[in-house]
């Protein structure tokens, strides 16, 4: 009953209400996994459906993701070690020399909304920083974004370094001038023309 209320509060992106309801539900003894899967994650599936239908706009999806995360923070200390709450770990940033981060931010927020752990390195990120962070966080995917056609070549530099060092990180590239052909040419594992597609691609690349 109240798990449904959590679900509704996420879909209505009411952060305060989500936190209160999750706390109350935990206190009343409801199984934490049920709150997580039926309340929080179930709600995000509905949000995703509404977005795909064109009923929800991007800001609504982002607000819902924020509400979901707030609820998740309450649950985190209570989840047992084995419980896999995240779909995968993503390192994301705009490549060296590029400060244009609108698209990257959108992808970052939507990935979080979809349940990934996202480490956003911000703008102007060089290969060393991408790789060091990915190693430290044991990441699944490194996502690189560029708006300037002049900064795109840095994507290839990072991908080459991953290969040369024999690392297992998957790579995704995106940004207005980045085409599928370009992504293939430089050996990226994933590419998407837009943010929702990036989430789909990440899901595919991390499917176990």
């Amino acid at each position: 009953m109240s798990v449904q209320a959590i679900y509704d509060a996420v879909v209505e992106f009411d952060i305060g209400k989500v936190i209160d309801l999750v706390k109350a539900e935990v206190e009343s003894g409801t199984n934490v996994s049920v709150i997580l899967s039926d309340g929080l994650i179930g709600a995000m599936d509905e949000v995703g459906r509404r977005y795909t239908e064109g009923e929800f706009f991007v800001p609504e999806m982002l607000m819902a993701a924020k509400a979901m995360k707030a609820g998740l923070e309450v649950l985190k200390p209570l989840l047992s070690k084995g419980e896999n709450i995240k779909k995968g770990t993503i390192i994301i940033g705009t490549v060296k020399g590029d400060l244009h981060d609108i698209g990257k931010n959108l992808v970052s927020m939507m990935m979080e909304g979809a349940g990934f752990e996202v480490i956003d390195l911000g703008v102007d990120v060089d290969t060393e920083k991408f790789l060091a962070t990915a190693k430290e966080k044991n990441a699944d995917i490194i996502c690189m974004s560029a708006l300037l056609t002049t900064t795109m070549p840095f994507m290839e530099v990072t991908i080459k370094s991953i290969r040369e060092q024999g690392l297992k990180f998957k790579t995704m590239v995106g940004g207005a001038p980045v085409s599928e052909d370009f992504a293939t040419k430089i050996g990226a594992d994933g590419w998407s023309p837009d943010a929702p597609g990036a989430v789909e691609t990440a899901r595919r690349l991390t499917a176990r």
């Binding site: 991007v58 800001p59 400060l99 959108l106 102007d124 207005a176 001038p177 929702p196």
Partner: protein, 480 residues
């Protein structure tokens, strides 16, 4: 011609005041170290640690005092020189798309230096265009010649003013070296600098970048032509209201202008913008949206407030083919901007929000440009143009077709389009029902199959090629 006014004097004053408040209280993040020290030395409150710069109002007001009302684009051939505001509207191609729509296959592909040569020659010949902003990148650029592979084919095949950007200082200096070589000497080039540089040094909201800011400062110091475009995107990098985005963009323009005027008081500038509203359904970038035109109108009014030339990337489209959407997005937004008094229209030839150049689109935009220029010329009010004597002479029921007056005006009063059809349906059917795009491509072909008389002389070309070994061919190569 009276321009459309959107705001009362009180409202325009308030936008200005609000912009000063933003600069003073919120400030700008300045990532370029040299810019930080210039701001610091000229009265801004600078935190070197956080790189935050706050602008006391008197600092901005001092900069505004040295704004100048003119901006000139100098050409290799002086007959193509244009100055704002006198020669407005100045129509410029859209620039730096990575792709081209292949004229033969109709498929999108990466653009090359040969495409740039073809486009340069086309723009040289299309009378609606005043400035050639290098439309695409060159995917075939040899290593280390990213910018040379764009500027060389452009300058080689187009005598109109050439405009574009460079990704770093090394490329910028090489391009200037090319300019000096073409001009004959550094002195000659400085007298008539026919390359105009353009950057987007401000990344909204309220941030100066490193490389573009460096280039703008360098060119300003050198007294060479440069201007910046301010690019807020409502809902993403600026508030989701037209007033909020106008005001934030205005503050960013003032921030950039203050830097330029600190370096060289009286440096010519353009209040150039590409203010847009993001499509909140997907986050999509929408430069073809009508709000882009509305925001341009608002910025143009603020430019008039400061008495500086205005314009920007206006007349872009989100359409992926040269179709009705492409036409109405370019047509409506540029008409709006023209009626508000904009001077500069970065509008020609690009599809898919700046992603691909299309030859047919460039020809249609040329016609739109001619129509805009016609509108700007206006009714030419005069006693003589009332034609009272003639009206009396012809009287009721007569015809004006065979009068001296008509004969005198028949080639100048109306735009005579080459693409728009005015024939009866049957004739159009007999021609195979050509649409606007195929008629436009025919015009492209007509121009590009002829040899380019404006090309570099062999002597000059040999000099340039000798100086820069390994250059791309940079010649027109056209066959459909």
């Amino acid at each position: 011609m009276e321009f459309t006014k959107l705001f009362t004097q009180t409202e325009a004053d308030r936008v200005h005041e609000a912009s000063l408040e933003i600069l003073e209280n919120v400030g700008m993040l300045v990532r370029n170290e040299k810019a930080l020290s210039i701001f610091s030395a000229n009265g801004c409150r600078v935190d070197m640690e956080t790189k935050m710069v706050r602008f006391p109002r008197e600092v901005v007001e001092k900069a505004i005092k040295t704004f100048v009302p003119n901006y000139t684009f100098t050409a290799q051939d002086p007959k193509f020189d244009v100055t704002m505001p006198g020669d407005r509207p100045i129509v410029v191609t859209g620039s730096s798309a990575p792709n081209v729509i292949d004229p033969k296959t109709g498929e999108e592909r990466r653009a090359t230096s040969t495409d740039i040569a073809n486009i340069a020659y086309l723009i040289n010949e299309l009378p609606g265009f005043d400035v050639f902003s290098i439309s695409t990148l060159a995917d075939d650029a040899p290593e280390g010649q990213f910018s040379m592979s764009r500027f060389y084919p452009a300058l080689k095949n187009c005598k109109k003013p050439v405009r574009s950007n460079t990704p770093n200082m090394e490329d910028l200096k090489k391009v200037l070296e090319l300019g000096i070589l073409v001009a004959g000497s550094e002195e000659a080039y400085r007298k008539r600098p026919f390359i105009n540089h353009h950057y987007c040094p401000v990344v909204s909201p309220l941030t100066f970048d490193v490389e573009s800011t460096e280039a703008v400062m360098y060119l300003t110091e050198q007294g060479l032509p440069v201007y910046g475009t301010i690019v807020p995107n409502a809902g993403m990098t600026s508030p989701l209201s037209l007033m909020g985005t106008l005001t934030l963009g205005n503050a960013e323009f003032l921030g950039l202008s203050t830097l330029i005027q600190m370096i060289r008081p009286g440096a010519p500038m353009i209040y150039a913008v590409l203010s847009t509203v993001a499509d909140m359904r997907t986050g999509a970038y929408a430069p073809g949206a009508i709000e882009t035109g509305m925001l341009q109108m608002g910025h143009t009014e603020m430019a008039r407030f400061y008495n500086v030339p205005s314009g920007g990337y206006i007349g872009l489209t989100n359409a992926h083919s040269n179709d009705a959407q492409s036409g109405y997005e370019t047509g409506m937004n540029t008409t709006a901007a023209l009626l508000a008094g904009a001077d500069l229209f970065n509008m020609g030839g690009l599809l898919g929000s700046l992603m691909a150049f299309d030859f047919g689109k460039a020809v249609i935009d040329n016609e739109i440009a001619l129509m805009l220029k016609r509108m700007k010329k206006g009714f030419e009010y005069s006693e003589e143009n009332l034609c009272l004597d003639l009206i009396g002479k012809i009287g009721p029921g007569g015809s004006y077709m065979d009068t001296e007056h008509t004969l005198k005006n028949m080639r100048s009063i109306a735009v005579l389009p080459k693409v728009a059809t005015r024939e009866m349906r049957r004739r159009w059917e007999d021609q195979g029902r050509p649409d606007a795009h195929s008629r436009a491509m025919k015009e492209v072909n007509k121009i590009l199959i002829k040899p380019n008389k404006s090309r570099f002389t062999e002597e000059l070309d040999a000099k340039v090629r000798g100086h820069f070994p390994g250059l791309v061919a940079g010649d027109v190569d056209w066959h459909l």
